[in-house]
Structure formats: C-alpha cells, structure tokens
Symmetry: C3
Subunit: 146 residues, 3 copies
C-alpha cells in the first residue's frame, strides 16, 4: 500500500476502535476488552445492574455475567453498532452515541437471536495517541428509563 | 484530543450526517430531521405514497405518518444504514446509495421487529460547508417497483 | 463540493470498496463482483464447499450457487457488514476482519429472513490505486470450525 496514504480522521478511528474492542468481547477475551477502558473506566452494560468500575472490575463483571447467562453453552455472540454520532467536546473528550444490537447464535441453529436493541453512550479519551473508553452506558429500548 | 487531527473525508462526513439525521428522526424530532433537507428537499419514504416536499412539508408528513402508524404507542424506532456507496457527481452533488432496516421495539418486548429491508437513494449537496439532503427515495425490497 | 476535501483514509476506502462490491453481488452482477477480486483471487463463501478460484471461477460458482439456492424465486438478497477491523500488514496487504449478516426478502413478505451470522476474513491488495480482494473466507457462526 502507498505510504502517502491520508491519515485517518477521528470518525474512522472510533469505528476501528469499536471493531477491535467488540471483536475482543465477542471472542470472550474479557481482559483485552477491559484494557480498552481507562484504568478508572466505568461500564454500565445492563439497566438495573450497578456499573462495573476499573479494568479489573470490568473484566470480573463480564466473566460473572457470561457465566451466569451462558454457562456451558457454546454460543457465539456478536455486537453490532450503527449510526455512530461522534462529537468532540471542549474538554478534549469525545462523546460517541450509537445504536447497538446484540446477536446470539447457537451451534447448529442458522438463525441468530437478535435482541435487544440499545442506545449506547460512550465517553472516549485519548491517552498516548490511543483511544480509550472512560465510560459506557447502555440503555435498552424495551426498558423504560428510571 | 490532538489538534493536528486529519480532517474527515467525505465518506466519514456522510456517515456522521446520517447518524445525526436519523437519531433526530428516531427521537421524534421531526422538525430537526426536516432541517437536514434543503429548503426545496424531497422525501419519498414509502412506495405508493406521494413524496413530501419542502422542510415544512416533510415535518408535516412525518407527524401525520407517525400519528397514523404508532398513535398512542410508546414505541422506539431505530433506522439502521449499511453498505454506504458514496459517489461524487460532476455537477457537485453527492449520490449516496445504501441499505436500510427499520427496527421497532415495544415497551417490555425484548425482541425488536426488523422490517422492512430497503434500498435508499440520497442526493446530497453542500451548503455553507454543511451536508444537506436534496432528495431521498426509499424502495422496499418486498414491494416490486412500478 | 469543495475541491480541497481531505483525501479518504484507508478505513473509509475499505468501506466504500465493500459497499460497491456487495451492491454488485446483491444485484446479481456476478461478473462485476468477480472483478473486485485479483485475477488469482480465492473466495470460500460456505463451509464445506471448496473455494472458488480466479475471476472466471468465482463468477461461475456464484451463478451455480444462486441457481441452486434461489432458482426461479424473485428474492432480494442483502449482505450487511459490521465491526470492520482493518489491519495493514508488513507485506503491504491489508487484512480486514468483519461481521456479516445475510438478509433475504421475498416478494410481498415484509419481514426479511436474517441468517446466518458470519465472520469474514479478507486479504486485500492495492493494484493501480484500486483495492481488490485477494482472498475471502466466510465462517458461519452456527457451524463449528473443522
């Protein structure tokens, strides 16, 4: 490839960041997913569940959540993002607001379950030239906000 | 964030434009959605229904359409776009052709309805450094073209 | 549009490439789809089926596959991509790993079939300033890898 390639803009960088982050999660690499948060990161993945905090706390919460929900099942989850709205803030953070669908495929079942539909709000920061999630809050469309 | 960031290319700008535009629509902010069209914009959102014209006409049509279809229901709609094909034209307009799925979530129902599958053709223009939709035509995959 | 527009970065170029490529496939333009591969390209679209090789071989395989699966049916297929992870390699190739859903709409049926959920691995190369697929391998989430 040409070395004179245009540098990526912020929008594409957020898309690439999300792709790597969620491929890690969907592959069950929870430590790697947690590393995409800041050390003091906060992750509120389900309404009614308290947010997980810090990288260690996020990795632990995901391990517990998957054990609880999918114990012993060889399921393949896939998270899909869409309609990514990226807004740079005056304080240097980046707000990303986007739609998410969670897909679940079971072995031998060709048709995946597609649910729920969500709205997710990320606060992203740049550290040493690398994007990280400082906080992520997931709202489920079928659950009225408190 | 770095101030030396690469400027966004057209492709990312169209994605950002669509995200803001459709988050406005899905939040029921019909006036704001209509403002993403040119003053003389045209929006043909359903086969067999005449196109809405002008910002005022588009906002009015959406209000009527939602009243007719979802009156009294606290539904959450989400429009998903994919496979965005952006083609600059010699006349300075931008043609964007892409896939769309309309999702509908009802309160308490975890699984959204996902239908119909559509092909959408946008003609975009730039006014004062801002993208606007001059025309949008929606084709439904299950409805044969006339 | 402004002529001073920022050049697109690689990430957006891969998205645009995929959009054109898959709109060709979903429109049944199999020769055009095959032209998006290198002359010696390889396409393994289904587990348990040998890969198609060369542009002529890929076009032929697609014609046979569609005849076999959808003979006489006026279906509209749509391939959706998501979570695109683009990694430049030291050898100058580009590895793209992403999620795919295959949608199928039948005339008069508003709700599309959405299946299966896949992971796709592309090896892309640049020839004369144009991206091409050297190899594409599709894994189905419901089919355990051999």
């Amino acid at each position: 490839m040409s070395t004179e390639r245009a540098r990526e803009g912020l929008y594409s960088r957020v898309q690439q960041f999300h792709a790597e982050q969620m491929q890690a999660l969907d592959s069950g690499r929870f430590e790697e997913y947690a590393e995409t948060f800041t050390e003091d990161g906060e992750f509120r993945h389900s309404p009614g569940r308290p947010p997980a905090r810090t990288r260690a706390g996020i990795a632990k919460e995901l391990t517990a959540f998957h054990q609880e929900r999918f114990a012993g099942e060889a399921v393949q989850r896939r998270h899909w993002f869409n309609m990514l709205n990226v807004q740079e803030q005056a304080d240097g953070t980046v707000h990303a607001t986007f739609y998410v669908l969670a897909l679940l495929t079971r072995p031998g079942e060709r048709v995946p379950e597609i649910a729920p539909s969500c709205l997710v709000r990320d606060v992203l920061v740049e550290e040493d030239g690398r994007l990280l999630t400082r906080s992520r809050r997931v709202e489920h469309d079928h659950v009225p906000e408190a």
